[in-house]
């Protein structure tokens, strides 16, 4: 979910940015907003560096940021303010929170604000990759600037109309007021004049004083789609219906990289309703987000297409991944983890320190592949005609989808329109737009609009799985029990292999997730990455490599506590050490979630704080009945700090119940605490799903699971009794940081540590599954 490799971030930087814009049709936004005569886009787009108390990595993303109010805001003569949401909504609330920031700064009244979803166009809107828990941290300041610019233009227009100095007027709740003369004009009446004003320079903008915020940080505003969701009118990818649209379900190679050897569609053709069956061997696996190939069944209803697909007879040529087998592969990873690997971080002399240690504790932690199983399986609609293509779909990366569809079809990007629907969950899966490309290819071939629907089995078997990993940690202790050496080897097939076949070492954005950025105060530290070959497409999964890393590191903390007879929370704080900014001079390529280290350093004071807060609020150390246990874990990811305490009960048959979850998060300055709470509640469920049930396994190169029966996720009857969330109030000018993902990593180790406290059983391989049954 972190990085989109599709675009060279250096491309389209600087001046080309401005040049390109002139080719963009300005009509489209006018048409889209339907607001001729109001405050609408009428000038070239400008991209300007954000002026802020802190810097973010936003401008290093493909196409950077755009802060022109005329791109994002339209005011109709009736006063309705339309704000563009340019990021994808997959449940985090971003479609509400970013426009809310604009509304706050421009003094718009939220009840008169409407949201318009941006189509894919990064030149116009800036980067649209909705992943990496980045939206708020990259866009808080740009959105405030957009709002402040719009407000200033409205104020200037009003001042001119009254013939008074601009300093005497003030925008308040959807109107501009001149208090000296008690005059006021509504935003709608000012729209046409304001549109003629020049956009003020960012440097001169005055942002609101946070104490005057009406919406930001309050959590009083519900998401804009709430009503539609409850009455069934919210529109997701599969809900798009076009006249003459055909429905397609595809039989993809069950082994990654496999090909069609022979294809017999006659049985499928016999079933009523089938229109066509196509053998598609023209789409070889190209080591990217390209479709896997296979054969498509086209029908008048999705149900018929699915039935037909299941009747198709295909002989596959499995290729070199046909021998992939999970148990054997685990043994390979373990063997690799027991040998030296590429050294990524080195402080002191770990080898000598381990040799000289009074005690060495070694833990090897295994996490199998995981599937995203977003509630909405991948789906997209495409209408390709001539050299034009229009796509509708639940894509996390609207701009990337546009680029990839254009490239695949060999047409200019300007000829591709990507309409972003709501996403029925994303979790990183929908940052790859292979399903939209499939729809585009089929539509081109059939000369008709096509909907490609993935079945749940397709989603589980042929997606982009979370990697499989062995994390091996050796901790050396001196006589007093102090940890003096820490060697962590991480072995896992890399996401980079999906984009560059044969990649065997993890990328900076993977090793930067809890391996080389380990925050403990230990004299001798070494982090290594032995090689691992991928045999399936590996992708981003909510919080990515932080899952195995937090599992390993935070389990090891509790293992050391046990070995030295200390309280796990005290042990954790001792290892985190003194409040300081962690220096990582030996790490060559410190990714830091794409953020500048100055603005977003590893600050152990903040990590300590969430531990202390959750320990206090969550009642760490309270006495619990026999068979119950408390576990704690803390982890920094996506530049946020999270600590979780879980209370479990394990009965004598090994039945596990999670009674209570307490989580503290420090995500810096925040916009909508109500949605932060819901993200953390959800992270507990996702963390529990992967800890208790999650395992995708392979045999003969094929995924052995297919649906929620053999790849179960947590249901309500297993869900935690209660989940409490504590949000650390931000300091002044604390930069915002991630929320969507950071809640996930600490959950599983907190749970596993709690199980240990309850039973004395140490789980080192996930999922827990039946391991607790005697």
């Amino acid at each position: 979910m972190i990085m989109n490799i599709r675009t060279n971030p250096k491309k389209l930087r600087g001046f080309e940015h401005y040049v390109k814009v002139d080719n963009v049709s300005r009509r489209s936004i006018l048409k889209g907003l339907g607001l001729a005569g109001g405050f609408v886009l009428a000038a070239p787009v400008m991209s300007r560096p954000a002026l802020a108390a802190y810097q973010t990595g936003a401008d290093k993303m493909p196409h950077g940021t755009v802060v022109d109010p005329r791109v994002f805001v339209a005011i109709a003569p009736d006063g309705i303010v339309t704000i563009v949401a340019h990021r994808a909504e997959m449940g985090t609330g971003v479609r509400t929170s970013l426009p809310m920031i604009v509304a706050e700064e421009m003094e718009a009244d939220w009840s008169r604000v409407r949201i318009q979803q941006a189509h894919g166009d990064e030149v116009k809107f800036g980067n649209q990759d909705t992943d990496g828990s980045r939206s708020t941290r990259h866009y808080l300041i740009p959105m405030r600037q957009i709002g402040a610019s719009a407000r200033s233009m409205l104020e200037t227009a009003a001042a001119k109309r009254w013939g008074v100095p601009a300093a005497e007027v003030k925008a308040v709740n959807h109107e501009v007021v001149h208090s000296a003369t008690s005059r006021r004009i509504g935003f709608g009446d000012l729209a046409a004049d304001a549109a003629k004003e020049s956009v003020p320079s960012v440097e001169g903008l005055k942002l609101k004083d946070p104490k005057d915020f009406r919406y930001l940080g309050k959590g009083q505003i519900s998401v804009v789609d709430l009503r539609d969701i409850t009455v069934g009118t919210a529109r997701y990818g599969a809900d798009v219906r076009l006249p003459g649209m055909k429905y397609a379900v595809i039989a993809r190679p069950p082994v990654t990289g496999g090909k069609v050897a022979s294809f017999d569609g006659s049985a499928a053709m016999k079933v009523s309703g089938y229109q066509e069956v196509m053998a598609g061997s023209a789409w070889p696996w190209r080591s990217s987000v390209q479709p896997l190939g296979g054969g498509a069944v086209i029908a008048r209803k999705t149900g018929d297409a699915t039935k037909g697909r299941n009747a198709v007879k295909i002989v596959w040529d499995d290729g070199p991944n046909g021998k992939y087998e999970s148990a054997a592969y685990r043994a390979e990873l373990e063997a690799a983890a027991r040998k030296p690997g590429l050294v990524l971080r080195k402080e002191g002399d770990v080898e000598a320190a381990l040799k000289g240690a009074d005690k060495v504790i070694t833990g090897e932690y295994y996490l199998p592949h995981l599937a995203h199983v977003a509630m909405e399986p991948p789906v997209a609609v495409a209408n390709v005609s001539g050299d034009k293509a229009e796509i509708w779909g639940p894509v996390q990366s609207a701009g990337g989808t546009r680029e990839d569809v254009a490239k695949t079809l060999g047409i200019p990007e300007a000829n591709v329109t990507v309409n972003v629907t709501l996403l029925g969950g994303g979790f990183g899966r929908k940052s790859k737009c292979d399903f939209a490309i499939e729809a585009a290819l089929l539509s081109k071939e059939l000369g008709a609009p096509v909907k490609v629907q993935w079945t749940r089995e397709d989603d589980v078997r042929t997606g982009f799985l979370h990697t499989v990993s062995v994390e091996r940690i050796e901790a050396g202790l001196d006589k007093s029990g102090k940890v003096t050496a820490w060697r962590h080897r991480s072995v896992a097939p890399t996401i980079a292999s999906t984009f560059a076949a044969g990649a065997k070492n993890q990328a900076p954005f993977e090793i930067g997730m809890g391996l080389v950025d380990m925050p403990f105060e230990i004299a001798n530290v070494q982090c290594e990455n032995p090689e691992a070959a991928a045999h399936h497409r590996i992708g981003w999964f909510r919080s990515v490599s932080n899952i195995p890393r937090a599992f390993a590191v935070q389990s090891m903390v509790a293992e050391i506590a046990k070995a030295t007879n200390r309280d796990p929370k005290d042990m954790l704080l001792e290892l985190i050490g003194s409040p300081r900014i962690v220096k990582l001079d030996s790490v060559k390529d410190l990714w830091n979630y794409g953020e500048p280290y100055d603005s977003y350093p590893i600050d152990t004071a903040r990590l300590r704080k969430v531990v202390e807060l959750v320990a206090d609020k969550g009642g760490w150390g309270r006495s619990v009945p026999k068979g119950h246990g408390l576990g704690i874990a803390a982890h920094r990811s996506f530049v946020s700090y999270v600590a979780t305490i879980v209370e479990v009960a394990v009965d004598d048959k090994g039945k596990l119940t999670v009674l209570r979850v307490d989580t503290a998060i420090d995500c810096g300055t925040y916009v909508n605490p109500e949605r932060i709470q819901s993200q953390i509640e959800g992270a507990a469920i996702m963390g529990m799903s992967l800890a208790k049930h999650g395992a995708i396994t392979f045999k003969d190169g094929k995924v052995q699971q297919g649906n929620f029966d053999d790849f179960p996720v947590i249901r309500m009857d297993e869900a935690p009794g209660v989940t409490n969330v504590y949000i650390v109030p931000p300091g002044p000018d604390t930069p915002p940081s991630g929320v969507g993902e950071p809640g996930v990593p600490p959950f599983a180790p907190a749970l596993i540590n709690a199980i240990f406290a309850a039973t004395g059983k140490r789980i080192r391989a996930m999922p827990i599954g039946k391991q607790l049954e005697a």
Partner: protein, 150 residues
């Protein structure tokens, strides 16, 4: 020719009588509020009410519901203000929202059957409806709220 009654309206179908109701609703009747999540009665995203019972539309064929009343999320309440829908909004239940039509239909059927379910009854009745976003705490609270008056 099969005639169905969906949200009080007659709908005709002359195609495959075995077509799952889910695809008739979505692809033929245009009632897209009912979702596909698994196709195997494992997730509850496709839950509709047939007569008074919550039913998984993905494993129910169109011919199974001839002569019965099918209610989808679109027809649950004329203005979308069923107690369950109101409770869902009051507690800001949804995240991505994709599972929620199914959750709401399941909850409505539960309350119809048992107007005052306790904690365990709610958890049991709702266990067939997966929410991958993990809104369970709020779903449970919202069912409780709907049962006690919104």
């Amino acid at each position: 020719m099969i005639t169905l009654k969906i949200n009080g309206q007659q709908k005709n179908w002359d195609g495959d009588p075995d077509l799952p109701l889910l695809w008739f609703l979505r692809d033929e009747a245009g009632l897209t509020g009912t979702k596909y999540g698994c196709g195997q009665a494992l997730c509850g995203a496709c839950t509709v009410i047939v007569d008074k019972q919550a039913v998984r539309a993905c494993v129910t064929s169109v011919s199974d519901v001839v002569g019965r009343e099918v209610t989808t999320i679109e027809g649950l309440h004329p203005t979308g203000d069923h107690a369950v829908q109101k409770a869902w909004r009051q507690l800001n239940v949804p995240q991505c929202g994709f599972c929620q039509a199914g959750q709401i239909m399941q909850a409505a059927a539960l309350l119809n059957d048992n107007p005052k379910p306790n904690h365990d009854q709610i958890r049991e009745a709702m266990a067939g409806n997966i929410c991958r976003c993990g809104c369970y705490q709020r779903i449970e609270n919202a069912v409780h709220l709907a049962s006690t008056g919104v």
